[in-house]
Symmetry: C2
Subunit: 498 residues, 2 copies
């Protein structure tokens, strides 16, 4: 599949495009147009329904700017860095780890020292990829955006958060008290994060500003296997790739726990939920895997970690990071702040452990577009097979031609439908062109008023997936569209086939 | 009304609290807890329904960080400043205009020169409010947060956007083309803005990071009086305070236009919609006014401007700024970028004019909390009378006591209701305490299972506003709660009074 084809549609039809592109732009910032915004909001709302509502997590909303003290406590000031080298000749900057991987095929783990990196560069004779010049020694570059808050003379140092979860940890005590929460409980947030990437690339996949949906599930580490909802997923099959058994295989949640492939029922439950969620967005099961991270890849705070990856023509893309963060965060913030962040359970003080679900919303949207994209030579245009719950518009309404009161009738239908659905109205161009444009943004059903509509008070519905059409009475339209969207009736049985 | 009482509830019950307050914080950043997040999201969704959906605006979502070129074009680099003075003795910093207003009662308009400000300070003998020391000369301080994007050696200058609308102007061409838009049309965005305020204050009212809902309505300036939907609001009465007639008065939209109090039907229509929206959130009409800005207050880009203010015990608070920005923005971005941002209408190229609706979401939430707060000596606790559509939870479910299967029955009811509503479940404390806690976050209806529930398959509903209770069958509960929320039936007639 050619990604460029998707990007062309994305730009032309208002899914997404480079930020502020009429001006001199900076790489790594993308804006969503009207169609992309709706798609993104619907994916976020599905996440909200699937996790926050269904799992009864508490949702919070914090600021993007936070004081330096937060990131001293979290370890980001010290450790949130990328290794950077510069060409002595052409002055271009490069991420040392990526350069070594590309040039010498050696994986450089996150915590490798600059000394070790310099040795590899020397040994493998790695030069500047742009001009073949000699490279400087490696230095660590902190990826957080730094800000001065207040007038210059007395500015206080602050940062844009590099991950939304730090808000959750610093607000933990407020939420725990206000909600009278009992373990296990989750706190979630959907919001922006910011990383000063040295080389942003692949459009939405590596941006400098991006959206995350994160949940931190706080639990008593002694009770990781006491999780009643485990029963609901125990027979669900995971696409699992663990370190113990390096082959991707389908295994039930119950077996994965029994065989020790996943360490704890709580963890297994949430991994299953993640795979179910990604699948529910129109990404087929065979393109999803849960891959255990190696010791070398795993961030320093994680005892245990799984990536949920989606397969695309760019390779496997990590869309959700799942981390067992232990009590690292609460203990660190507790130590730095001097505030007691422990929880009382059965009269005993404990510092909860954390299982984290960290989903990249933009990456998810990208993978959804990739897997829903249908290259269709027969139709002569390409289209998106979005599942109903995330389609930017539920349906479109058109008059067949722009005369003889057909637009008036179409407007009446439009006004009726838009009370219940997200509806798109369009009059311009031939009806064939309008159907093609609807397909291109994934609209499932197009409703058209024609000459018969004026006499019979009916209209046609066209099905995106088959291009077939039926006629139905306008008075039944709302009900039948709802049933079609919920897949309660078959399209061809819903009205009179044309 | 004592604001402190509301703030105490806000903190204790998880509406909002200072950001990262376990650490050393910086003033001007507030986080929303679970209850506040839900309230805020519901206000944003109402705005989305009321404007984006009902007015058929295009919604977009851009990044918070934008390149310097955007803000050179918009005029923010040059003009988005506050006048700053420093005490020569204690080094404290102050906003010169606010200081003059407080100390000498003189209003300092936005475009006053530093020379003029220095003259006033000298003439009125204004000293440091902290130590009575002498003040430095005034200098302008740019209120945008500046960032370096990319590694230090080659960082490109960027800023956090001080208003969401600049995203709309720089994306105008993308949206216009992708949506095949026709004038008049609106582009809207709900998102964050950032201002490096010298003195943040009054909690949510003057923050350094805040949420805006903005719509820019693009129109042909020759057709400002051709606006069909004007008919829908022409008899609606505005609370209007114009420069021509400096008394607040009630006047119909039609009369306001006829008398020239509002210049244009399009403008009058959107002012009416704003007043209707604020009113729909539970803020009484008598506490809302539309006030025309004076020449001195008005930002340099605005030909004409109205604030929509809400009255509180802190005075009138501006919650929505409504600006006639003319073609200032599109022309400026066009000139700076060299891109043609004109629109073709009937074969003629025109640069659209802009009417702007710029609503502060946090301020709106604050004013909603203020006007819905009921100090209730009789009950012994204070509570929020939120209107149904923005209540954090639609209803609560409780077992009367924690024994004899009452919790099991309550859980069944909870699971049934949460498929349709936002439901709160609580078992802890006496039933009286739980009712009080529900009132405190504004929940309209509390459903309780008691001993009769086990025999009769029924339950009680308690009404927040009257504390009265009725009994109804559990099987009718979903239907009746829906009718009560939609005010389709009277509470006391909905079941058997207790």
């Amino acid at each position: 599949m050619d990604i460029e084809k998707i990007l062309a549609v994305a730009k032309r039809r208002g899914f997404f495009y480079p930020g502020a592109e009429i001006h001199k732009t900076i790489a790594g910032f993308w804006h969503y147009g009207p169609i992309g915004t709706t798609l993104k909001k619907k994916i976020e709302n599905e996440w909200r329904n699937f996790f926050i509502k269904e799992e009864e997590f508490y949702e919070i909303e914090g600021t993007n700017i936070m004081p330096e003290s937060v990131f001293i406590a979290s370890g980001h000031i010290k450790g949130f860095t990328d290794p950077l080298v510069q060409c002595k000749n052409c002055k271009s900057l490069h991420r040392a780890d990526k350069l070594i991987e590309e040039k010498a095929g050696i994986f450089v783990p996150e915590r490798t020292s600059t000394k070790k990196i310099d040795e590899i560069i020397k040994k493998k004779k790695i030069k500047c990829p742009d001009c073949d010049g000699e490279l400087t020694n490696t230095r660590f570059f902190n990826m957080m955006f730094k800000l001065g808050v207040g007038p210059t003379e007395q500015a206080e140092t602050a940062y844009l958060r590099p991950e939304t979860c730090q808000t959750i940890f610093v607000d933990f005590l407020n939420v725990y008290r206000a909600m009278r929460a009992k373990l296990p409980f989750g706190i979630a947030q959907i919001g922006r994060s910011f990383r000063n990437e040295i080389s942003p690339r692949q459009t939405l996949l590596r941006q400098r500003e991006f959206s995350q949906a994160e949940a931190e599930i706080f639990f008593n580490s002694d009770k990781i296997d006491e999780f009643p909802r485990f029963e609901e997923v125990k027979n669900y099959k995971l696409n699992l790739l663990t370190l113990d058994d390096k082959k991707l295989k389908k295994v039930t949640v119950a077996d994965a726990v029994k065989k020790g492939l996943i360490k704890g029922k709580l963890i297994a439950y949430y991994l299953a939920r993640i795979q179910q969620f990604i699948n529910s967005l129109g990404i087929p099961l065979e393109a999803i895997r849960l891959r255990e991270q190696t010791d070398e890849e795993r961030p320093f705070y994680a005892k245990y970690a799984f990536d949920c990856d989606v397969k695309t023509s760019l390779g496997w893309i990590e869309v959700v990071a799942n981390h067992y963060r232990t009590d690292y965060d609460l203990s660190s913030h507790m130590k730095a702040s001097g505030k007691d962040l422990s929880v009382v359970e059965n009269g005993k003080k404990i510092i909860p452990h954390v299982w984290e679900i960290s989903q990249g919303i933009d990456r998810t949207l990208f993978c959804v577009m990739f897997h829903c994209f249908i290259e269709d030579k027969k139709r002569g245009w390409n289209w998106f097979k979005f599942p109903p719950k995330i389609i930017p518009f539920d349906c479109a309404v058109y008059p067949l031609v722009l005369k003889d009161n057909l637009p008036k009738k179409a407007k009446e239908v439009y006004e009726m439908l838009r009370k219940k659905f997200d509806v798109f109205y369009d009059e311009s161009g031939s009806i064939g062109k309008r159907y093609a444009r609807a397909d291109e943004i994934g609209i499932s059903f197009c409703v058209t008023t024609d000459y018969d509509s004026l006499k019979e008070e009916d209209c046609t519905i066209r099905d995106r997936d088959t291009t077939k059409q039926i006629r139905i009475k306008i008075q039944d339209l709302t009900k039948i569209l709802k049933q079609l969207m919920d897949k309660e009736i078959e399209f061809e049985k819903a009205g009179k086939p044309i």
